[in-house]
Symmetry: C2
Subunit: 203 residues, 2 copies
DNA sequence: ACCTGAACACCGTTCAAGT
DNA sequence: ACCTGAACACCGTTCAAGT
């Protein structure tokens, strides 16, 4: 049992993670300093170094939490429609885009290159892979149900991933300002992209 | 006629832009400081402020150049296949992805949220729009040729943009490390995604 | 008109010292 | 074992002063 007012914080690691996410949402990845995170958590500017190797490690941990939420969204999409892999894919796409739009700065952190390749630790990569594997499973469900054309699982999964990912990042980057202001519009756009990908652009 | 050794640089704005792009490619958007750009250009750390309002304005100008190259790639894709809008779309997708993969840090700058929304000046937005309009024109060519299903131009364009954009950023973010190491592999992936989008995933 | 150098407030990181 | 505070090298930005 630890007191919050004591010299020793007790759960500083989590407090820093929370403060980091809060400041990230407010200030963006450029405006987020390790010192401001420490201040927000109520500790000195050097305290974080007991829990994170450096600033990149904190960012990496925040990004990891984002990938875990993304993996959950994929799992949820699969379980929501146990016998309809087409609906699973639609729900996955909408979930992907909705999650990114709801946390645009986290999405930028996860995919925007703020974390240098050599700072990407194994845990971060694993969390990213888990999210992708959730989508791959949904594609495999469709293949087993025989609804897709004969193609490599990875090719289909990459096409689906690319279109959801692209739409999500176009929105978070503000390139679709007027067309994607409400959550309803965002859902509609995700559904439209998913349908075009499923049925094809060509006659 | 201006001398490079004189006290007055003569073309410092362009020199800073060039130095910025060079350092961006080498250090990434996180490692790029305005002071290092000034040093690379051989001027004092405060000289850039004669030519750019602040650091964001320099980044914005670099991003703008990136969008102009992207717009050129779209135009080139259209002109390369004057009578085949399907090939235009494939060339546009490959061009998009190839450009991003060749300049990953510039792509991150263009789409990664390093430039805050309020720093996005009119010129930057226009350059981005021009690139998108190039893609829209290619879609319209296909609609006029009657090759696409009946759908809003914008819906088709957004689906095409999303999938190319998503693939490009997945690669530059390093999420496809092993599958996209050579330029040939990258072209192949872009072609695969484009074909799946054109013909559809479903049987 | 354009560039420099000192100055200021901030930042990431380290390390001896405190509890 | 965990946190603090001084210290260092860096950064963005401003501004009087130089050419």
């Amino acid at each position: 049992m630890k007191s919050k007012n004591s010299y020793h914080h007790g759960d500083l690691r989590n407090a820093l993670l929370q403060a980091g996410e809060r400041l990230l949402a407010k200030e963006g990845v450029v405006g987020l300093s390790l010192r401001s995170v420490a201040k927000e958590a109520g500790v000195s500017h050097s305290a974080p170094y007991r829990h994170f190797r450096d600033k990149g490690a904190l960012l990496s941990a925040i990004a990891q939490a984002g990938f875990e939420r993304l993996a959950e969204a994929m799992d949820k999409a699969e379980k929501q429609h146990p016998d309809d892999p087409a609906k699973q894919l639609l729900a996955a796409g909408i979930g992907y885009v909705t999650l990114a739009v709801g946390n645009p700065e986290t999405a930028n952190l996860m995919f925007g290159g703020a974390i240098k390749p050599d700072e990407k630790d194994a845990e971060l990569m694993e969390a990213g892979d888990r999210a992708f594997q959730g989508l791959v499973r949904i594609i495999e469900n469709g293949q087993q149900a025989g609804i897709y054309k004969e193609r490599e699982t990875m090719e289909l999964a990459l096409a689906a991933w690319s279109s959801s990912h692209g739409l999500a990042l176009l929105i978070t980057a503000g390139k679709l300002k007027d067309a994607a202001s409400s959550e309803e519009q965002v859902t509609q756009l995700a559904a439209s992209v998913c349908e075009i990908l499923s049925r094809g652009m060509l006659k």
